[in-house]
Amino acid sequence: MISLTSEKTNQKPSQLASQELNQKPSHKTEPNYEQLGQQLDGLRAETMAKVGQEDANYIRLIIRLQRLVQWSGRILIVLGFVSPILWAIGVLLLAAGKILDNMEIGHNVMHGQYDWMNDKHINSKAYEWDIACDGASWNRVHNYEHHTYTNIVGKDRDYGYGLLRLSNDFAWRVKNLWQFVTYILLSVLFQWGIAYHEMAAERVFFGKKKDNRQHKISHAELKQRFFSKGARQLVTDYVIFPLLAGPFFLWVLVGNLVANLLRNLWTSTIIFCGHFTEHAQVFQEAECKNESKGQWYYRQALGSSNIKGGNWFHVSTGHLSFQIEHHLFPDMPARRYREVAPRVKEIFAQHGIHYNTGSFLRQYASVLKRIIRYSFP
């Protein structure tokens, strides 16, 4: 009775072909968008039909594991006075706990991947993660803007986070000369970068206010939520837990600091590998007007890159090592990306779409190369 896409599917993707930007692989032969859309929709429907008990058990198992890892980490950190080795193991466990919470649980649950479970706590509305960024703010910027307007210049604020120049579509500025240092700092402080992200774009504190921006949320509320979530994080990790440890205050404070740092570096690295490898493409807003579902899939495919690895590696990245599949099917339970990946690759091959994947080292080297390359005009 109601069709969601039919009015769009007949539009010819003429703009795409006309926009040939230098310095990146061209969009070459155009795929048959309608067929591509149908194939990927079909794959999604087929996989979602299988989603059930197994997936519910899996996410509960991961949540249970997270509790175990995080709390044994916190306890071992205090036992640092017995042996520094215990402290070091504790820090690693706490970092692992935070990574599990942020990536395999937080990121995925907040994407709505487990909303079908009807669980009061495991759903995109209720979940709040252990990171400085307020969940609702992340949901607005990431789930909507980044996933709908993936890698569209000017629309996807995740693209370089407004700090890095990663394509010639952005004008070169002098500050880009030292953007490698900026990148390192961003990685170190990644949780705060993400937390501040929406406010930076909304020019809450600095910069010229943009008139045409539609405000979904007031600046006052943004500020209030930013400070309240940020303060909660700081107070928990750097006041409450250290105080609970009494004489071992410093052990715990430093341990928490290192754990947070490790988490920041890991999440930042994985995310950069997913979107800013050498061949990940950017798009112009005009290209994407009146996109059909097939064209949308195509853009998701070209804007993302995967990382090869074993099962535990995938879990530790929240399955963002399957960034391509995640961008095609953002609300599919992430563990399912493992089984759809070969099929996606097949479909891509059929349409001559490049399936961007590689080892962690290869993809990361490619990211670093890109950051350095675009430091210069």
Binding site: K120, H147, V235, I240
Partner: protein, 368 residues
């Protein structure tokens, strides 16, 4: 005092440190290691008996925890089962007396299974000793013990709509036995002078007949008759032949409407609980009432809910409008919608829906 303080402390801990609405929610998966199916915000009940009463009717006995607030006869509870990873909730009227719940912590449900239902067909396969989740009792379909002497109350039941009446009658029976044991043997429940039950069901499908007979034997003011539509005609034809001062109705919507019409005409008080089946896909344009927070809005099934609400100028958070970003997600408290992206038809109960891909199939209650 101590309870309030510890409650405050635990809610502070859960908010500040755990980012959860409750400590129980944060620890749920860990607690489940020891207590299977333990869930934050639900009561856990053990299956102690499952009996098939009929080809399509099953009786389930639950043992509720001691802190479960005992129901009033006629109330229902929500039963939640995890079915293929998904928590599915249905309302069922409790078909046993409050005193049974108080003394033995037993609650009985008598459920007619729906041929294409999600939850009801699973009930007969429930293993003894397994755990399910229930809510506290609710509902205001209870017997109002306020009839004058010489007044007559009429119970109208259809199919599995007999359950609240069984609970009420059992409660009356228990009250009477209690009164007798408290030595005023000759006085009977002075507030009720006559109670008559008219029970409609398909031929041979009247439920709990032996129980009704026992009750009728012991409660001398209670009588009942069993009817079938094919043999005895519609309820609307039957009603004028009955003598009543108040109506109690439990059955499907058309059954209720027949009774309501009669009550209106005769100016009689009517108390009711009625249920309807999940509709099939509507082919023609229909208009429904959507309750958004506290506001009532008329919407059709011709366009997704979000499109219509935005067109009517409602301020809502939304994003991609194609069912991907989950920005327009809201809680559907009740009603049925169809997901236009997957073609799936929702349950009647509470769940999260994406407004941009939801088509109305019934009236709905939304919390955005």
């Amino acid at each position: 005092m101590l309870g309030v303080a510890s409650g405050k402390l635990s809610s502070w801990i859960s908010r500040q440190i755990l980012h959860y609405s409750s400590v129980g929610g944060y620890l749920e998966t860990v607690i489940q290691l020891v207590k299977p199916n333990w869930r934050d915000g639900y009561y856990r009940a053990e299956i102690v008996a499952v009996k098939k009463l009929h080809a399509n009717t099953v009786e389930v006995q639950l043992k509720v925890p001691s802190y479960w607030p005992v129901h009033k006869a006629g109330q229902h509870l929500e039963l939640t089962l995890e079915i293929d990873g998904r928590l599915v909730t249905r309302l069922f009227t409790i078909a046993s007396s409050p005193s049974l719940a108080k003394s033995k912590r037993l609650v009985r449900l008598v459920v007619k299974s729906q041929p294409h239902g999600i939850l009801t067909p699973k009930l007969e396969a429930l293993a003894l000793g397994s755990w399910v989740n229930v809510s506290k009792p609710s509902g205001d379909f209870t017997f109002q013990f306020n009839l004058q002497p010489e007044q007559r109350a009429l119970f109208l039941a259809a199919g599995s709509g007999i359950t609240p009446f069984i609970a009420m009658l059992n409660a009356m029976l228990n009250n009477m036995l209690d009164d007798q044991s408290r030595s005023n043997k000759h006085e009977r429940d002075a507030n009720v002078s006559a109670l008559h039950l008219v029970y409609y069901a398909k031929p041979g499908e009247h439920l709990l007949l032996d129980e009704l007979e026992v009750i009728a034997e012991q409660l001398d003011f209670f009588t009942f008759e069993l009817l079938t539509r094919t043999k005895d005609g519609e309820l609307s034809k039957k009603l004028p032949t009955l003598n009543a001062d108040a109506l109690y109705v439990c059955g499907p919507s058309p059954f209720y409407h027949a009774a309501a019409e009669f009550a209106k005409r005769e100016n009689l008080p009517i108390y009711a609980e009625h249920f309807s089946l999940i509709p099939t896909t509507p082919d023609e344009q229909q208009t429904f009432t959507a309750q958004l927070n506290s506001e009532l809005i008329e919407l059709t099934n011709a366009e997704p809910v979000l499109t219509q609400l935005l067109a009517k100028g409602r301020q809502l958070t939304y994003g991609c409008k194609m069912g991907i970003c989950h920005q327009c997600q809201c809680v559907k408290k009740s009603g049925v919608v169809k997901n236009l992206r997957t073609g799936e038809v929702s349950d009647r109960g509470e769940e999260l829906i994406q407004l941009c891909v939801s088509q109305l199939m019934t009236d709905v209650e939304l919390e955005a």
